[in-house]
Symmetry: C2
């Protein structure tokens, strides 16, 4: 059996410890092809670079692995990897991360990690985004590596019919304290923003986004609850944003002239 | 009855003809409060500005209307409008656009126009993104204004239970040729990217994203088909990306240790 071809991307940049861990996990399972931003790109969501050129440089950070750094967004990385740098590789899987920080609940919308994985899934490639609930550079990825290996092997051995995109979050706990994995729904919890106002050297105001993650009331099936209870959360996700139950509710719109 | 309070945002920038048209429509229905990017921000998706400060300047482009330009992304505009500039305004509605170009089908993911509207809907404000299928600066917004007025009035008079976010696209046709409005599902059609490679003055390669919109096989209920048949499309949308049918399909994941 030939080795699986796995595209590795992230949003924290090519030198982040999270992607180093993920590349090592992938290299033990299949062939890793890496295209990652040349700088941190957190919070980029599904942004793409239309009005400017982007550059790509081959790097030798990971021995024996074909890896590139790209000046664009995480979604740009997926697009240019497929179109220019690995056009002939039939990818079996795309993995993104391991993100330094949670992408549970509403974070999926803002996350470059998850948008990169979604971009690959739009092209029909089953994709998994991994995030550890620890934003620090020195985060301990031991448990994340363990569960990433399990889930990548699972994904390579299964057909994905109803979702080609998994949002995986790992609690910041030692393996011995993690209770297992749970398939979940996307939580409702989100951010309450606050902007800190200050003055630039010329006395003009500027604003810097702060914010607090507010835990809303959550279903027992939500990723937020699973993580709070010590489980790795897996939310099967999709890119069809249609609110189907609203179609009937809004049918009077069809009568407007 | 007091006038409705309507937040107006976009992604093409505060001076774009599309937002000028939308502000004029809104001013006839309620009180417009404007916070728009100070430059074009197409393709920014749900990007937010975390690692840099942003600036906001009051502008007098629109007589009698409180309007600001912001250096951030479309989503930043919604956040800072609510937190800093209009914290005491109880918004009845947020409208975004009118975008110069389609946000039908998969475009909703990349669209700053739709992400701004989604951000407001996350805060519980019913929101509508409007887009005209003409990217030109001199696009004719006559039909768009007509249908925007109809849909804004409809939205202000209805409860939105199953969706607080409408993705409205208007075909590039004179009013007389538009057949009406259709509530639709999100189409599957999307982009096939191609990057054009060239050399910078120092002989290094750079890449610039091009791309072709590929029409996939679409359901008769899709926005793509409605637009192709001369209708204004309205897709009720949501931010819960959970692929519910996949939860049962993936239940074996819960057994992984």
């Amino acid at each position: 059996m030939s080795k699986s071809n796995i595209l590795v991307v992230n949003d924290d940049g090519i030198t982040a410890p999270g992607i180093q861990s993920l590349i090592e996990v992938v290299a033990e399972i299949g062939t890793a092809y890496v295209m990652a931003p040349d700088k941190p790109q957190s919070g980029q969501g599904h942004a793409i670079t239309i009005h400017n050129p982007i550059t790509v440089k081959k790097v030798d950070h990971y021995e024996g692995i074909e890896a590139y750094e790209c000046s664009g967004t995480p979604v740009d990385c997926v697009k240019i990897a497929r179109d220019v740098f690995f056009p002939d590789v039939p990818f079996d899987l795309c993995v993104s991360g391991i993100n330094h920080g949670s992408n549970a609940a509403i974070n999926i919308l803002y996350s470059g990690t998850m948008s990169a994985a979604m971009e690959a899934s739009l092209a029909g490639i089953p994709s998994i985004g991994f995030s550890l609930l620890d934003v620090s550079y020195k985060a301990d990825f031991t448990a994340s590596r363990h569960y990433a290996a399990k889930l990548i092997s699972f994904a390579l051995g299964h057909q994905f019919n109803n979702s080609k995109l998994l949002n995986v979050n790992i609690p910041n706990l030692p393996i011995s304290e993690i209770k297992g994995i749970k398939v979940c729904t996307q939580g409702k919890s989100g951010w309450s923003e606050e902007f800190i106002e200050s003055k630039d050297p010329r006395g003009n105001s500027y604003y810097w986004m702060a914010g607090e993650f507010l835990r809303h009331e959550e279903s027992p099936d939500s990723d937020i609850n699973a993580l709070g209870n010590g489980y790795v959360s897996v939310v099967p996700s999709m890119h069809d944003l249609t609110a189907y139950p609203a179609i009937d509710e809004l049918k009077d719109i069809n009568l407007l002239t």
